[in-house]
């Protein structure tokens, strides 16, 4: 299903390089190709950390904050700003 507004797009959606072909495609100008190469150089020089460290840190963050996450650990009704406060009347 294509959202209504996407029909407004004027560009052709043809990116053969996404599917494994050359990043420099035949519709590019020399200027565009030069820019792409410069961009790839920047991305290639990025210093990556090990996936094990990245995964451990993500897990640690979730563990540290899960108990304060109201969607995982629901707060009592009285502390939930979206719930009606029940009024208790005591017969004296």
């Amino acid at each position: 299903m294509v959202p209504q507004y996407k029909a407004e797009r004027l560009r052709l959606q043809q990116f053969p390089w996404m599917k494994g072909d050359s990043p420099v495609n035949s519709t590019m100008s020399v200027g565009q190709a030069r820019k792409l190469v410069e961009q790839l150089k920047i991305e290639a020089s990025f210093c990556r950390i090990k996936v094990s460290k990245a995964a451990a840190d993500l897990m640690a963050y979730c563990d540290a904050h899960a108990c304060e996450d109201p969607l995982i650990t629901p707060v009592p009704t009285s502390e939930n700003p979206f719930r009606e406060k029940k009024l208790f009347c005591a017969l004296l």
Partner: protein, 340 residues
Amino acid sequence: MGEMEKLRKEAESLKDQITAARKAVQDLTLQDHTSGTSVVGRVQLKIRKTLRGHLAKIYAMHWGGDTKLCVSASQDGKLIVWDTCTTNKVHAIPLKSSWVMTCAYAPSGNMVACGGLDNMCSIYNLKGKDGSVKVMRELAGHNGYLSSCRFISDSEIITSSGDCTCCMWDIETGTQKTIFAGHLGDCMSLGMAPDFNTFISGACDFTAKLWDIRDGQCRQTFAGHESDINAIGFFPNGNAVITGSDDASLKLFDLRADQELMTFQDSSIMCGVTSLAPSISGRLLLAGYDDFNCNVWDTLKAERVGTLAGHDNRVSCMGVTGDGMACCTGSWDSFLKIWN
């Protein structure tokens, strides 16, 4: 060898280098790491409030910082600012153009912004001296529709456009300060980093890009989706990016490892993701889909742990409050619902 051929070879070689470098740090997958963890318990959120008032499809919503106020944009040509606890409309702002696709609330609470097929981002001052809400600035310059916008502060805003670029604007002068070019397809969504130093964009070239706000540089590009990326957001600690696509999946990309760590998909889900929001701990990932539902995913296990069923049309937008207390969904059925 012509220059074009040289550049083609160089690009290929660099692309291979990046692939190899990413593989070289893959000592363990996220799945390996979480294999000993159990799936988070079943999540059953209930509708606490229904915000009624729009007369047509809702296209966007955004929470106002740490408050319980939110702004929504609808094809009925209105921006409505809601007090979500009372369901009262604080402001109902008529728009010049009803073809609105995005809206944003400034972190200060002083302004809201919106834009769409008018190719402009209009800024509204909510705290005018006489109490009325007026257009403060109309940011014109994009050559395509405005798909998303997010305030950095009361003086700077970032926009994404169908012209394949994102832009940072000086609201005071109404001028473009930085243009972020590089995507090869319409930019559909953007997300601001928690520290406001970087932002991410998702586009119709199937990639997400991380941009340095100050120097305009694209630092990282993430490929993997097989269709347009409609929704994008940061994991709460700013170290990962989550994308939602027309290919019916969501993906989590870690920024420091520079690669995809998880895909959230199910053979029974065949429609596109329209919106997403992580819970405040990052453990839950809420996603809105074209099939009128939202799925709640366990971020670490990539398993579905709940659904939010309550809309009668596509869920077009969603957001979790700053304190994580509730989630808001907006739909083409003209209603917003608050869940927790």
